[in-house]
Amino acid sequence: MRYIEQQTVVKRMNSRLIINKIFQSIFLLATLLALLALVILLYRIVSQGVGHLSLEFLMNFASRFPEKAGIKAALIGSLWLMMVVAPTSIILGVGSAIYLEEYAKQNRITSFIRMNISNLAGVPSVVFGLLGLTIFVRAMALGNSVLAAGFTMSLLILPVIVVAAQEAIRSVPGEMRDASYGMGATKWQTIIKIILPAALPGILTGSILALSRAIGETAPLIVIGVPVIIQFLPAGVMDTFTALPMQIYDWSSRPQQEFQTVAAAGIMVLMAVLLIMNSIAVIIRNKFDKRY
């Protein structure tokens, strides 16, 4: 008696191989479909917006005439926003990560903080807007200022930075730590002079990616009440401002066809900012990757 019926195997072999091939193509097609969506999206925006993109567009304030509408206030406003978000979120994020990785004991409080951070990452951004509206805009009376929006955005991207910084700190080899202790350094000296410099590339990469999320985020700004039409630049963090995505939202939602090209041009500016930030992150990652 034979264990394998060779006839059956031979008969089925072809169809099995064909099924394999068919599904391989389907899976590849699905992957390419997702990439195709990206290509169409980028092509559409560039082809619509490139005509309106000019130096004038960057230098003009918003206008109700599409041909005069510019993005100056929004671009500068987004930079102001980043000037608040970057230090706030990085100090809070890296501080939390150092605490969790270096100081926290394995107890209920620590695991509660960890669980809390991962839950916070799943809260919709519009809900963060409601938090900002109540706490920063109203309770702390910051109004729709750069500071209120910046604090809200910082809390929104905090979980991302904490997780990235934790991973960066964790990847610093234990021997470096031991060597530092062996030389008589205290814990804080070890952290500030050995671990943080070694983890810096990872922390920077994660932080830049998180900041690029903050720069494109719209919903919290709308809920906070950030205005759109602004004819002046903020002079300080307590001034009101507008930001790139707000401006794009306003242009997109106008019924006139002409404003769609203005919106597309605005999106190109936003995407260019994101591209620059992401390139910096990639350069940092490649330059400092695998040092150990």
């Binding site: 099924i19 997702a34 990439l35 100090i91 605490y99 509660f112 919709p124 519009v126 709308i222 809920v223």
Partner: protein
């Protein structure tokens, strides 16, 4: 004479302020780490307090079971949240129909078929999709996907549930693909190689071995994507319209929970009006929905994980 090393160490150790630093820093860092906890407490308290105020004006059951959402009417404003929930679910449903097959197929391709080089090119490009701001997707839905759909199905209105649904789906593809790929890749190589050595084709390995083994991770990724789709704001604000409705129509203007919050925030709903408090009640409902999904996802991935 220069001090010896021992003396220097002794001197520096005797410095009081250094010891103070070593003691103070952990406390300071603990305070920083608790900001995230305070944020969560802040979110929950904010939502609950303002929602309670809302419920002093609108009865709880009318909010939960009411079938009409008519907040801007001066005479008889009605706050029944069901139409907003139905709107949210319509968009989420379409997004999932689009994203789940494509996302999982891409994950299988990347983890089972693609060579290391192809994967190294494709994965970052997929991640670019995840990094595109949602406002850009919203613009895309409104100015490209909707006109395209109208060409094929003239019955579709400018504002509808299908176009934003498709675009939300595109947005969450990278999330499903990347998380599912992680789950598939964590299935040990030995199991895969065992099946291949027995004469299985790659498809049979994927379908009968790795996908079942990674099922908990794949399901968790889908649940997380549902949560993202429910909370998505800008795409639906731009492309889905602002007509709360309870029927099963996908082709006309609808309104989601998130879009309602944006609509009110954009206008001038004075502080203290019922409309003002209603955005917190809607926000709270949205928060509950996404939290349930997130908890479900972590439960699924923990409870049903196959350990090797």
């Amino acid at each position: 004479m220069r001090p010896s090393v021992q003396e220097m160490i002794a001197r520096s150790q005797s410095k009081k302020n250094k010891k103070m630093t070593e003691k103070l820093i952990p406390i300071l860092l603990f305070l920083i780490a608790s900001v995230s906890v305070l944020t969560s407490i802040g979110i929950v308290l904010t939502l609950i307090v303002e929602t309670i105020t809302f419920f002093t004006r609108v009865p709880f059951f009318e909010f939960i079971f009411g079938t009409t959402w008519l907040p801007f009417s001066n005479k008889d404003a009605q706050f029944g949240i069901l139409p907003l929930i139905v709107g949210t679910l319509k968009v989420t449903f379409i997004a999932i129909v689009v994203a789940v097959p494509i996302g999982i197929a891409a994950a299988i391709y990347l983890s089972e078929y693609a060579s290391e080089n192809i994967r190294r090119v494709l994965k970052p490009i997929l991640e670019v999709l995840a990094g595109v701001p949602t406002i850009v997707y919203g613009f895309f839905a409104l100015t490209f996907v909707t006109p395209m759909l109208q060409l094929i199905f003239p019955a579709i209105k400018i504002f509808n549930a299908i176009s934003p649904g498709i675009v939300v789906g595109i947005m969450i593809i990278p999330m499903i693909a990347s998380l599912s790929e992680d789950a598939l890749s964590s299935v040990p190589k030995s199991i895969r190689e065992g099946a291949l050595a027995m004469g299985s084709t790659k498809f049979e390995v994927a379908w009968k071995i790795t996908v079942p083994a990674a099922l908990s991770g794949i399901i968790a990724s889908v649940v997380l994507a549902v949560s993202r789709a429910i909370g998505e704001t800008m795409i639906v604000s731009l492309a889905a319209g602002s007509t709360p409705r309870l029927d099963g129509d996908f082709t006309g203007s609808i309104q989601t929970m998130t879009a309602y919050i944006v609509q009110v925030s954009k206008g001038d709903a004075g502080f203290g009006t019922t409309i003002y408090y209603s955005i917190y009640a809607v926000g709270f409902t949205l928060f509950v929905f996404t939290m349930v999904m997130n908890i479900l996802a972590s439960y699924v991935s923990k409870r049903f994980r196959e350990e090797y």
